[in-house]
């Protein structure tokens, strides 16, 4: 290891695991998924730990790795769903018609499913944002960080973080126009 002053890696895991898990769990509310992702974050961090400069902020660095991984995961899920959708029967197929006939008789989907669907749509919209916008949305609107904390993680000024957040929200609001109609 290049830098002798760096704390042992186990200490980092102990110190930051729950905070990272909280953020990841909000996006992917499945304990197994979230734990896997946090583990992947630490694995990536560990691979680069010997090159890590001690003057940099470990907390911000770990958050940035987490944000990148979350975005990658969202995008890969979008890609998988696209592939599945290509294989699915086209609208108007017999299976679809059957569903349409049976749908009114079925009970309305539960609140949990509706929320899951809403979460998926918003998550996908965030995944399609440019990286710099996705990061601020994840940090502020999902992790609930303060402007100061967000600026620290991103390594920019508080003003710049605020400006970027406003732009990101404007783009996201456009992308979620359909969903937002129900809330207006």
């Amino acid at each position: 290891m290049n830098n002798e002053r760096l704390p042992p890696f186990e200490q980092l895991v102990e110190r930051y695991q729950q905070r990272l898990f909280d953020l990841v769990y909000r996006l992917f509310p499945d304990v197994d998924d979230a734990e896997d992702l946090v583990q992947e974050v630490f694995f990536r961090a560990w691979r680069a730990y010997d090159r890590f400069r001690n003057d940099a902020d470990v907390y911000s660095w770990l958050y940035r790795i987490t944000l990148n991984l979350c975005r990658e995961r969202i995008r890969s899920r979008i890609a998988v769903r696209k592939l599945i959708a290509q294989d699915a029967p086209a609208p108007g197929d017999s299976a679809d018609r059957c569903t349409a006939v049976t749908d009114p008789a079925e009970p309305a989907p539960g609140e949990h499913l509706e929320r899951e669907e809403l979460r998926r749509r918003v998550r996908d919209a965030i995944g399609r944002l440019p990286e710099r916008f996705a990061r601020v949305i994840l940090l502020r609107d999902i992790a609930g960080m303060s402007y100061e904390e967000m600026a620290r993680v991103l390594g920019i000024s508080v003003t710049a973080a605020g400006v970027r957040l406003n732009r990101a929200r404007a783009v996201l609001r456009k992308a979620l126009a359909q969903e937002l109609k129900e809330y207006l």
């Binding site: 898990f21 560990w46 605020g162």
Partner: protein, 172 residues
């Protein structure tokens, strides 16, 4: 208060719509159409985000997570080290010719190459090759071309060693 200040305050608010606005801001929003619309849209956005990502109780990581995490990392490390070790050994064997192992490996490889080449040649030159050589001769030619530098290398190495021994004896 102007629109810029009002929008900045609205943007920074944790949950617009959930708590009453400060009086000055409230008066501005009531009087300004643009800010009123912004306020409505921001409230809608916040409520949407809240509904989508609200977690009533974030679970605590399961016990032993850090141990599992470190075990996985160590396993990856060992795997990586094993692979690197094999690769280094292979490179050493190939680069430090002639060592007995490398010579053996090279000879086996040369024989294999020769057999493969001659088989291909046998298909192409069933009757006679362009040089008038038949497949066994092609094979011998290829084998010779591959093995010759190795044999020379071995001979040179042996000669060096013998030279060093003679020099040592002379110096003693």
């Amino acid at each position: 208060m102007n629109c810029r200040q009002a929008i900045e305050l609205l943007t920074r608010m944790e949950l617009p719509g959930a708590v009453p606005l400060p009086e000055e801001l409230s008066m501005h929003v009531a009087a300004c159409l643009r800010c009123a619309r912004e306020y409505r849209e921001l409230t809608a956005y916040r409520r949407l985000m809240h509904d989508a990502f609200r977690v009533s109780d974030t679970p605590v990581l399961r016990p032993g997570f850090s141990t599992r995490c470190m075990r996985t990392i160590t396993a990856h490390c060992v795997e990586g080290c094993g692979f690197r070790k094999t690769l280094t050994a292979l490179l050493n064997a190939l680069l430090h010719i002639p060592t007995p192992a490398a010579v053996t490996t090279s000879v086996v490889a040369a024989v294999l190459i020769a057999v493969l080449v001659s088989h291909r040649s046998a298909d192409t030159y069933r009757t006679e090759s362009a040089d008038g050589l038949r497949p066994p001769a092609v094979m011998a030619g290829v084998l010779g071309a591959v093995v010759e530098p190795i044999v020379l290398d071995v001979q040179r190495d042996l000669a060096d060693r013998r030279g060093r021994e003679l020099l040592n004896r002379f110096l003693q």
